[in-house]
Symmetry: C2
Subunit: 137 residues, 2 copies
DNA sequence: ATTTGTGCAAATCGTTTGCATCTGA
DNA sequence: TCAGATGCAAACGATTTGCACAAAT
């Protein structure tokens, strides 16, 4: 999983309307340089520290939300406690291992959901989340 | 929506291995006396206060979790922030209106999920959650 | 120079816990 | 009587916010 080139990251951020600051570039490199990932703010913070990038936790949160609003990340509400951010923004679902707090992608077309009733008057479906919760066999 | 009789509540709690204390009876009456409901701890607390029952928020949390462990409630992790408890413990799914934090039941057999891959080695599926997120049309 | 981002520490929110007191069987 | 419940207030962990400082255009 090679990193992305600095130019690519910079242009990607610019396109999203975000200034390519040192922190944002570093976080983008971590997030998007190694395939699909699921990260919590805390985990990303530790990863950044380990990589020698000094970023405050507040900035991690700001950045994750900015990336999300820009469509670069998707936020997952799967566990009542922490939030996860998914670098795969296309339509897909998840296995969730509760005991480990770990998420595993299920490719987008694998799962088919049928029989959803019509939404109430004045509402439309924005998105259907399917979470397959796993326990030890 | 008539309330349940005190005797019914008492015996239901006893069967679940829980002492029918004043607070637990009052909360059980609120929860199970009016059909299927989705409540947050805070909402139940306010409802109890409004009904003239004095219960601390800590006891609300304790009670909700005890009811859940006893199989009287199901906890829903739908929103990253607060937890919801569902008085319908049978298999069913939900509409979720994010802007209002409101949940609506989808009857159990309506939704069919197909094509879920095999879980990883050593794991088994405990449960599949389907959340249909709604926005204004 | 101006605008936007960042860090820090304090604030907030939902939830949990420790402990003294009370209550139901 | 006495295990088990409850209330309170303090502790908690995740997230947010206010504001002075720093960096990007």
């Amino acid at each position: 999983m090679p990193g992305l080139s600095p130019q690519l990251i910079t242009s990607r951020l610019r396109k999203a309307g975000l200034r390519p600051t040192r922190q944002r570039c570093a976080l983008a490199a971590l997030l998007f340089g190694q395939g699909d990932r699921h990260v919590s703010a805390e985990a990303l913070h530790e990863e950044a520290s380990a990589a020698g990038v000094r970023v405050s936790l507040a900035t991690i949160y700001n950045t994750l939300h900015q990336f999300q609003q820009a469509g670069l990340l998707r936020e997952l509400a799967i566990d009542g406690q922490r939030s996860y951010f998914d670098t795969n923004t296309s339509n897909h679902n998840h296995f969730y291992i509760e005991t480990q707090g770990r998420l595993i992608d299920i490719p987008g077309h694998a799962v088919r959901v049928d029989g959803v009733p019509l939404p109430p008057e004045g509402m439309r479906i924005s998105h259907i989340d399917v979470v397959v919760r796993l326990v030890k066999a």
